[in-house]
Symmetry: none
Subunit: 225 residues, 4 copies
């Protein structure tokens, strides 16, 4: 007798529904996806969505949670760094893990697309997401950026620089559809993503260093007086 709620993962209809729904929602959006379609993909009865999740909307929220858990587990923002890693190393890990989370072409390739949709067309499920996931994540990046900018940086500046870095990363998630059309040579496999992360690192570190130079200039000007 198997009472394990997760069972063998392929047999478990709950799990199969989450996977099928995630893919479908990512492809056609919440309203564009029919319960019938999800059940067919999952190979389950049409009533299972209501039976296991209590309705289409509850399923959607569950899919969002499930997707987040899966990606954050697979690609944690620290990416296996030790506690004593430098700010630069931590930034590198943050950028790469974020890109991988959004664009990993492995099996559950729908996670990134689903999240992109949710942010462009925020449903009420977004509120929970922001508090549970995005806020701590952005806070983490801000502390890294703050460290890199030094103590002279103002909070607002730190925040804006953090957003500049995030913007570069998520851009490839959002605009992938356009980019593959305009630049077919751009790869989105593991190496291609690594290259994108490297560029973003280089670009951002250069920008941050420039901020530092400015602080030094200001500092010197101040001390001269």
């Amino acid at each position: 007798m198997n009472t394990n709620p997760e069972q063998t993962s392929v047999t478990n209809p709950r799990r199969r529904l989450l996977e099928a729904a995630g893919e479908a929602f990512a492809e056609r959006g919440f309203r564009g996806t029919t319960v019938r379609e999800i059940c067919e993909r999952a190979g389950t009865n049409i009533a299972t969505v209501n039976y296991y999740f209590g309705g289409k909307e509850k399923l959607y929220r569950s899919v969002l949670q499930y997707s987040l858990n899966a990606t954050m587990t697979k690609y944690p923002p620290e990416l296996g760094l030790t506690e004593r890693a430098t700010a630069r190393e931590r930034l590198q890990a943050f950028v790469l893990s974020l890109i991988l989370r959004l664009l990993d072409e492995g099996r559950p390739s729908w996670h990134g697309r689903l999240m992109a949709r949710e942010m462009a067309e925020p449903t009420s499920a977004l509120n929970g997401l922001v508090d549970d996931v995005i806020r701590p994540l952005w806070g983490q990046l801000e502390s890294i950026v703050g460290e890199l900018l030094g103590r002279r940086a103002e909070p607002k500046e730190i925040r804006l620089c953090a957003q500049s870095i995030i913007g570069q990363c998520v851009h490839y998630g959002r605009a992938k559809a356009v980019i593959v059309r305009l630049y077919p040579e751009q790869r989105f496999d593991s190496d291609g993503l690594k290259g994108l992360a490297d560029h973003i690192m280089k670009f951002s570190l250069g920008a941050l260093r420039q901020f530092n130079r400015e602080y030094q200039r200001r500092g010197r000007a101040l001390s001269r007086k």
Copy 2:
């Protein structure tokens, strides 16, 4: 007899439908919007969508085109610069106009939101968009960035730097829903957007300068041999 398709703009049912549909599509997405609702907002008969546009989907494409024409006309990438403006001035104009196009809170505030949706959830209408609008726009930015990086920059580097700049800009369009939740103090009015553009300029110019320094270093190393 008035055969001018745009007529007096307020009387013209075609135009009223485009405006009403744009607003509705931006708010609730393509599937979340009903033809009835659009016609009610436009004050027209329920059959007008099919009559004037041949269906809901054709209307959607028309709205996209209409929106683009309107925004590109109102905020051209050059923003009124003369032909002999410096690369830096042109970048400034590009960044600001892009942000304004996405986030202008003025009367037709739905243009940016609609475009954000379309990219996160690309319909077949995207293909036309890419060729007509995005390709020339990105090309324009690349030529500016190429000028700023100097002749030593490789095309791939130019492209990536351009994407970094675009990513920062569109980020605020995409993630506005999240940002207003996490940073309620961030304004999205005219001044707020100006501030965002200024930061992006500062961040990006800093990054590009760092690229330049590297080229110089490389160049010196090369000439020493």
Copy 3:
């Protein structure tokens, strides 16, 4: 061009729906009746119920109203009496019209059954009914009974006697299914109903006369003192 909302009554889909729904609701109750069945009976499209009435429940309320209007029009409680009719004549008319309303086997035979259901299984539609129809009707009967009992009768007594009369009448409506099983000889055609009304009149007038006798006895006893 026919703009008359009632049209030719057979052609009018609204009317056909009301008739079909009335019959179906009377036979199987509100929940037991499907919208599909109603539309099939009415020969209309499945969407017409929502189109004309805004939903199944709204249709039900409309049917109730329609039924009441029809029966109260066909069999008004006064049954064509002049203003100067005696109390006894008015009671006769009241009883007969009530029975006819409940048991008329003419074309719209479902009116009585539907009302019986509504009272045994009161839906929220009952509230409106009580105020609009039942209250004035019962008040009318009470004034007749009050007249027959004389000024010595107490309001409570009048009310109870009125209920006794109503109870006798509606009984045949409620228990018809049982009566036809137990007394197959009982006819429910026009003559049969007339006979029932006659009996109820005889029974009730006898009872009321007995009340009168008691008042007189009481009165005499009082005046003797």
Copy 4:
């Protein structure tokens, strides 16, 4: 091992289902009640209805039988009278017991409401009911009425008078929903029901006496010839 089908009554799931179902059916009707709800109220598994009764409809029939047995046992038509009670005493007992059966607000208050539904909305279960319960009951009343009217009364007259009495009684069961709305002062507790029974007795005995007077008149007229 306890094979007694009624067991300890509280433990017995069959019994608990009958009680729960009776209450539910009386409140929401057959179709308005879900098997799930019944099982939840009864504290049993969802499959028990099919397991013990073979389906929802079979359960309904069983509830009807069960209800009848219970009420007829609690309120027998004789109400504890001796064999040698007068016709008047037996009528009094009949009327009161009938009213109590329909309107008793004690613990199993649903019996009366359920029966009222069944008659207004006769299912196929009604046939069995008529033969087993109603026929002997009405026969009993007719013999009482026959005794009170005397040997001159015709069977048809006896029958109609009996129906007049039954109609008055069941009226309060059927129209309770309306009466509480129109006459909020009418109580349906033990005393209130006693008062209703008293009125019905007074009204009916008065009517029957009037029939007697008429027979006497007729008899005299006949003997004069």
